[in-house]
C-alpha cells in the first residue's frame, strides 16, 4: 500500500487546480479591466463611464454567440470555419422572411435556426461520415455558402420590423438586451455541457474518441450535435446582425468572425485539442477581447495598431496557459533534497 498512500492528497488537490483555470481567466479579465481603466484614466477618460460600459457589453454579444457555439465544436476537438458565412446567410434568411412584417418574426427565427442547424448537420456529416478534416470540411462549406450568397444576394436584402430591431438596440439601464440574451444562452450552454448527456459526452469525445466509443457513447452523434449547435448559435448571431442592420447582409462574412470566435474560445482557456475548457471561460475570453476593443477605441488607438495588439495579446495569453499545462506529465519524485545530500 505504500505506493498508493501518496495518491490521496494528489487526488484531493487536482480538482482545485482544474477549477483555477477558469478562475485564472476571470482574473485575467479583471486585470485587463484594471489596466485598461488605468490607461484610459491616464488618457483623461473613464473606461467605466456608462457609454463605454454599453460599448463593451454590446461588443460582447455578437462574438459571444459565435464563440459559445465554437466552444462546443472545439471541445469535441473539431473546428468550424464557416460560422461567419452561416451568420451572414442567417441574417438574410431572417430579414427576407420577416420582410417588415412583425407577424413573421417567429417563422423567421424558426427558419433561421432550421437552416443554420442543417448547415451544421452538413458540417458534422462531412467530418463524421466522410472523415474529412474539420478544418477543410468547414472551410469548404464556407466557400460553398460564399458562392451561394454572392450569387443569390447582391448585397443587403430584406427588411427587419422595428420590433425585432429592438433585439439589437434596446438596453436595460446600460445592459443591451442582446448581451442579456447572450448571457442567458451562455448560462444555458454551461448547463447543457454539465447536465445533459450529450453535453457531458462532448468532453469525452474531445478527450479521446476511442475511449468514448468503447464506453458506448455514440461519438458521431455527439460530434454532429456539437456542429449543429455551433451553426445554430451562428444563426442566432445572424439574427442579431439582422436586428442591428435592419436588413440582411451578405457582406457580413468578410469580417472573419470565425477567427475572432476561435480566438475568444482559446483565450477562454478551452484546449484547441479538445476535451478541456468550457463556456464560462469562453465568455470571459469574449469579454477580454471586447474590453480591449473598447479601450483601443476610447484611447483612439490607430486601427492598424489594434490588429498588432490583438495578435500579441492572443499569443501571449495562450502561451501563459501552455505554461500551466507543462507540469501535467511530471512524475512524482521519490528523492528530494536530502536524497541529494546522500
Amino acid at each position: 500500500m505504500t505506493l498508493l498512500a501518496p495518491e490521496r492528497d494528489r487526488a484531493g488537490r487536482r480538482p482545485a487546480r482544474r477549477l483555477s483555470t477558469t478562475a485564472l481567466i476571470y482574473l485575467a479579465l479583471v486585470g485587463v479591466l484594471a489596466l485598461g481603466g488605468a490607461a484610459v484614466a491616464l488618457d483623461g477618460g473613464n473606461l467605466f463611464a456608462t457609454a463605454n460600459l454599453v460599448d463593451m457589453l454590446t461588443r460582447t454579444s455578437l462574438t459571444g454567440f459565435l464563440a459559445i457555439g465554437m466552444t462546443f465544436v472545439i471541445l469535441c476537438r473539431s473546428l468550424d470555419l464557416s460560422v461567419g458565412y452561416v451568420a451572414a446567410l442567417s441574417s438574410l434568411v431572417a430579414a427576407t422572411t420577416m420582410d417588415g412584417q412583425p407577424g413573421n418574426i417567429p417563422v423567421a427565427i424558426g427558419l433561421v435556426l432550421l437552416v443554420s442547424g442543417l448547415i451544421g448537420a452538413a458540417n458534422g456529416a462531412f467530418v463524421t461520415v466522410l472523415g474529412v478534416n474539420p478544418f477543410i470540411a468547414t472551410l469548404g462549406t464556407g466557400l460553398i455558402l460564399k458562392g451561394y450568397l454572392d450569387t443569390q444576394y447582391k448585397g443587403p436584402a430584406g427588411d427587419v420590423p422595428a420590433v425585432f430591431q429592438q433585439f439589437g438596440y434596446t438596453r436595460i439601464a446600460f445592459i443591451p438586451v442582446s448581451t442579456v440574451v447572450m448571457l442567458v444562452l451562455a448560462a444555458a450552454a454551461v448547463w447543457f455541457l454539465r447536465s445533459t448527456r450529450t453535453g457531458h459526452h462532448m468532453y469525452a469525445v474531445g478527450g479521446d474518441v476511442d475511449v468514448a466509443r468503447m464506453s458506448g457513447i455514440r461519438t458521431k452523434g455527439v460530434l454532429l450535435a456539437a456542429h449543429v449547435l455551433c451553426a445554430m448559435f451562428a444563426g442566432v448571431a445572424g439574427l442579431l446582425l439582422a436586428a442591428r442592420f435592419g436588413t440582411g447582409s451578405a457582406e457580413a462574412y468578410t469580417n472573419l468572425y470565425e477567427l475572432d470566435a476561435i480566438a475568444a474560445v482559446v483565450l477562454g482557456g478551452t484546449l484547441l485539442l479538445g476535451g478541456r475548457g468550457g463556456v464560462a471561460g469562453t465568455v470571459a475570453g469574449v469579454a477580454i477581447l471586447a474590453v480591449l476593443d473598447t479601450v483601443f477605441n476610447v484611447m483612439q488607438v490607430d486601427p492598424f495598431a489594434k490588429d498588432v495588439l490583438r495578435g500579441a495579446v492572443i499569443i501571449t495569453a495562450v502561451a501563459l496557459y501552455a505554461r500551466r499545462q507543462l507540469d501535467r506529465t511530471a512524475r512524482r519524485p521519490r528523492f528530494t533534497l536530502e536524497g541529494r545530500l546522500r
Binding site: F126, G131, L143, G147, T151, F304, I315, A319
Partner: protein, 337 residues
C-alpha cells in the same frame, strides 16, 4: 530505379488522387480551349501558378511536421509592400532590399517556430496572431496603403523570362525558379532533415528519443515557410506590381492546395511533390472556371464542393485496410534512400 518505384507507389496511394484530379481538370481545360496547351499560354499559366506552388512547398514543410502556418498570406503582402517602400524605384537598391526581405522572412518564420515549439502555443494560434500582427504592422508602417514603387530589376523574376524560345515562346524565370525550388524541396525531403521532419510529424516522442532535434526541425519548417512566402512575394510583386490587397486570403488557398495534394493536417503524411501538384490543381481549376466562363460568384461554391469531395475520397482511400499478407524481406534488399 528506386525513383521509378516511388512514382508507382505515389500513384497508387491517396497522394496519387491529386495527380488524377489535375489530369481531369487539364482535360477539361483542353476541351474548352485546345489552345491552352500551346507553348506560350502554357508558359503563362505556369508563370502565374509559380508563386502558389512555391508557397505550397513551404506550407508542406510546416504541415508535415504537424503544424499550420496561417501567416503566409499576410507575409507575402508584407514582403511586397516592404519591397515597394524600401526600393522606391531605385534600381540600385534592388539587391540589398531583396536580402532584407529574405532576412525578414526568416525572422518571421523563426518567431512563429519558436513561439510554437518553445512556448508551446498551438501553431494555429501562433500564426493567426502573426497574421494579425503583420497585417496591422505593415499598414501602420505605410500609413494604410503601400507607398513607393518597385524597380525594373526587382520585377524581372516575376514578370519576364528567357525570350523567343522555340515552341514555348517565353520561358518565365518564375517557372525556372519554381522548378529549382521544387527540386530543392524534394531533395530536402529525401535528406536527413526531411526524414527527421517527417518522423517528428508522425511521432514526435519516438523521433526525439532517436536523437532528433524535433523542435529545431519544426522551427526550421516555419523558416522555410517564411522563405517560400518571401520568394512568392518577390514573384507576385514582380508579376503584377504593388497593390493594397496582395496576399489577401492566400493562406487558406495554399493550405487547401496542400491538403488537396493528399497531405494530412496533423503531420507525418504526404509528399511535397503532391503538395505542389495540389497548388497546380487549384490554379488549373481557376483557369478552367475562367474558360467555362462560370459566373464568378459561383466559383467558390464549386471550389468548396470539389475540395470536400477530393479530401473525402482521399480519406476513404486511406481508410482501406492494410495491404495483403506479409512475406520476409530477406529477399527485398533495396538500397536505402
Amino acid at each position: 530505379m528506386t525513383r521509378f518505384r516511388d512514382l508507382i507507389a505515389k500513384a497508387a496511394n491517396p497522394t496519387g488522387t491529386v495527380f488524377i484530379l489535375l489530369a481531369l481538370i487539364l482535360v477539361g481545360v483542353f476541351a474548352m480551349n485546345p489552345g491552352f496547351f500551346e507553348g506560350p499560354s502554357l508558359m503563362a499559366f505556369l508563370k502565374q501558378a509559380a508563386p502558389l506552388v512555391i508557397l505550397a512547398a513551404g506550407q508542406y514543410f510546416v504541415i508535415v511536421s504537424g503544424n499550420f502556418d496561417l501567416s503566409v498570406g499576410a507575409l507575402v503582402g508584407a514582403q511586397v509592400v516592404i519591397a515597394a517602400r524600401l526600393i522606391d524605384g531605385e534600381e540600385s537598391r534592388t539587391l540589398p532590399v531583396i536580402l532584407a526581405m529574405i532576412a525578414f522572412g526568416v525572422a518571421v518564420g523563426l518567431v512563429n517556430g519558436l513561439i510554437t515549439t518553445v512556448l508551446k502555443v498551438q501553431s494555429f494560434i501562433t500564426t493567426l496572431g502573426m497574421l494579425l500582427v503583420l497585417y496591422g504592422a505593415i499598414r501602420l508602417w505605410t500609413g494604410g496603403a503601400p507607398t513607393g514603387s518597385l524597380s525594373e530589376a526587382f520585377r524581372q523574376a516575376g514578370r519576364f523570362g528567357i525570350e523567343d524560345v522555340p515552341v514555348l515562346g517565353q520561358v518565365p524565370w518564375a517557372l525556372l525558379i519554381m522548378i529549382g525550388l521544387g527540386a530543392g524541396a524534394i531533395a530536402l525531403m529525401r535528406s536527413r532533415f526531411g526524414r527527421v521532419l517527417m518522423a517528428s510529424g508522425d511521432n514526435e516522442r519516438a523521433a526525439a528519443l532517436s536523437g532528433a532535434r524535433v523542435d529545431a526541425a519544426r522551427t526550421a519548417a516555419f523558416v522555410l515557410s517564411g522563405l517560400s512566402a518571401t520568394v512568392a512575394g518577390i514573384l507576385i510583386g514582380g508579376y503584377a506590381g504593388v497593390s493594397a490587397q496582395v496576399g489577401d486570403g492566400l493562406e487558406f488557398t495554399v493550405i487547401t492546395a496542400v491538403v488537396l495534394g493528399g497531405v494530412v493536417l496533423g503531420g507525418g503524411r504526404g509528399t511535397v511533390l503532391a503538395a505542389m501538384a495540389g497548388a497546380l490543381t487549384i490554379e488549373a481549376l481557376f483557369t478552367l472556371f475562367n474558360q467555362m466562363a462560370l459566373p464568378a460568384t459561383l466559383r467558390p461554391t464549386v471550389q468548396g464542393a470539389i475540395l470536400i469531395a477530393a479530401v473525402a475520397y482521399a480519406a476513404r482511400q486511406r481508410a482501406r485496410p492494410a495491404p495483403a499478407p506479409a512475406t520476409p524481406t530477406a529477399t527485398a534488399t533495396a538500397t536505402p534512400s
